[in-house]
Symmetry: C2
Subunit: 150 residues, 2 copies
């Protein structure tokens, strides 16, 4: 009621996107000390999380899971390969597809990473209910956006 300028929408505090963006960055920053211990960046960490589950996956499927494209993944995967955590090779059936496979060393790293989720949970400190609500809202948004792009 107070504001009739027509510019109300153009305020940082009135945009959902901004706290989302800021929150994401700040939480990732909280991960840094824990990830430093296993010498991974955040993006490398979420990539390894997929590989700890899948053992083997194509770059395209990996990109869909992580919402990342080959421009980001190609150099990142080369670094993980250089660290000895994964191998990269072309699919025999279709040479266009590059398959990423976790190595022994990559598997072993999982044991060193096992406490990170709990350590981080302490940093963020939401109630289970709040976490659930937030989680569902975020995946609802992601679902709607993905649906739009087909």
């Amino acid at each position: 009621m107070a504001e009739r300028s027509g510019y109300e929408g153009l305020k940082l505090e009135n945009q959902l996107c901004f706290p989302l963006y800021a929150c994401s960055k700040e939480i990732i920053k909280q991960y840094k000390p824990f990830l430093d211990k296993i010498d991974l960046t955040y993006t490398q960490y979420i990539t390894m999380m997929v590989l700890w589950e899948e053992k083997q996956i194509g770059v395209k499927a990996l990109g869909e899971k992580l919402y990342l494209d080959s421009g980001t993944l190609t150099p990142l995967l080369k670094k993980l390969e250089a660290k000895g955590l994964i191998t990269r090779h072309r699919s025999k059936e279709d040479e266009r597809n590059l398959i990423v496979t976790i190595t022994e060393a990559g598997e072993a790293l999982r044991d060193e990473a096992v406490d990170i989720p709990m350590d981080m949970g302490k940093c963020v400190d939401l109630s289970p209910d709040e976490a659930m609500v937030l989680y569902q809202l975020l995946y609802s948004i992601l679902g709607k956006i993905s649906a739009k792009g087909e």
Copy 2:
């Protein structure tokens, strides 16, 4: 109950941080077509949003509002200056402080940006209640993290 591997926490779907990170990126991607029209990147856009409100602000205060540091802001502000949207000059009282001031052209851009929040609202499509809950949870997290760093 089903899973006793001890690795349950190390799954992408069980980490709050991941949907937050993915959601932030995907929404920013949705902004692109609208921001292209006024030739701003997302980071430049939120910077201009502060300046449309404040007219004039120091780099330090700007960084605190945007959760960005001088390493990000310095080159970004130079680009905005090159576009003629802002000016940069040192404070007379304390030469360490760099003051950013919006120009006429910067003010004028506000009129071209005025529809962006509504256009984006259509893209995300949450109910007002959901948006409010999400908004409050995010600022609650941001508040707790800021409080920890004093």
